[in-house]
């Protein structure tokens, strides 16, 4: 090996190592970054769950309200029927002749 080559090789190795180390992130850095992202994801997940629970509650309340509305409608129909019957009977009564 020539003397110039013996000088160049270590320099090249040092250069290559410094370049390589400068381009890569450390494990700790990566963990920190991932932790931040995970934290944000957890936060979003919690908010999503809360939103989902609210939506489900709203849905169940809407369904219950719809059920009550349906029942009220049925009851109104029944009452209408009864009122019609009573009105009919009143009319019939007014027309029914007693045996004097």
């Amino acid at each position: 090996m020539s003397p110039s080559l013996t000088k160049i090789v270590p320099v090249a190795v040092v250069l290559a190592a410094s370049l390589g180390l400068g381009g890569c992130a450390t494990k700790g850095y990566v963990r920190d970054q991932i932790a931040v992202v995970n934290q944000r994801i957890d936060g979003l997940d919690t908010r999503l769950q809360a939103t989902d629970a609210t939506a489900k509650q709203a849905l169940s309340e809407a369904q219950a309200a719809s059920g009550v509305g349906q029942q009220n409608g049925q009851r109104l129909d029944q009452l209408n029927g009864r009122v019609d019957g009573i009105e009919q009977r009143m009319v019939e009564n007014q027309n029914k002749r007693a045996r004097n």
Partner: protein, 221 residues
């Protein structure tokens, strides 16, 4: 001990026996009594006592129509006698109503069908033709209780009601006519709100057949 029980049972049966006796329903002589009120027949007294003691009127006012005597006896809900009046009833004798008579017009009702049916009726006030307010006794057979209707002068209903005779009180198509003052002042205030019971005594049927619960009512001497 068994002998004592048997003796008591025999005694109970012996005292209950008179309840099964069926007295004649029609043409009872009018009786007078302080508690019963004047002019009530034995049948009317029996029915009045039974209703009052058994609570058969379910806390509603009631009226007993004594067809053979052509009289009505009004009682309050707690069994207090309120009034006694003469009535006009169906011209035909009989205790049944012809099936389907309720849908017939007056002109279609035959002479033998003009009966006032006997029985126990839950009556309520209501309207009849001409917007007349009547006490419907048996709606299905069109029997109502009301004052003498207008346009019946030819039948002399008022005179018939006022006369002491009983036979001439049979003149209606089956309804029960009562004096107007009695209807408005005594009957209507009592019956208007919740109605009441009407007990119509029979012409010819046994009393117990018309009111089966009378069988368990002892006859008071």
């Amino acid at each position: 001990m068994i002998d004592v029980v048997l003796a008591l049972a025999g005694l109970a049966l012996a005292t209950a026996a008179p309840a099964a006796v069926t007295p004649p329903a029609a043409a009872d002589p009018p009786l007078k009594g302080a508690a019963e009120g004047p002019g009530k027949s034995l049948s009317a007294i029996r029915v009045a006592e039974w209703v009052a003691s058994s609570g058969d009127n379910h806390a509603l006012p009631y009226i007993i129509i004594d067809k053979p005597a052509a009289a009505a006896f009004l009682f309050s809900a707690d069994g207090q006698p309120i009034a006694q009046v003469p009535v006009l009833i169906g011209i035909a004798e009989g205790d049944e109503a012809t099936p389907g008579i309720g849908s017939k017009s007056l002109a279609e009702i035959g002479p033998a069908e003009k009966t006032t049916p006997a029985g126990r009726f839950l009556a309520r006030f209501g309207y009849a033709a001409g917007k007349k307010r009547v006490l419907w006794v048996d709606y299905a057979t069109s029997v109502a209780l009301h004052p003498i209707p207008p346009h019946t002068e030819k039948e002399k209903r008022r005179q018939r009601m006022l006369s002491p005779e009983i036979d001439d009180n049979r003149i209606t198509f089956g309804c029960i006519n009562v004096p107007l003052a009695f209807f408005n002042k005594n009957l209507r205030p009592l019956f208007e709100k919740k109605g009441g019971y009407v007990y119509i005594l029979p012409d010819s049927k046994p009393l117990e057949e018309v009111f089966p619960r009378l069988r368990v009512q002892p006859i008071t001497p």
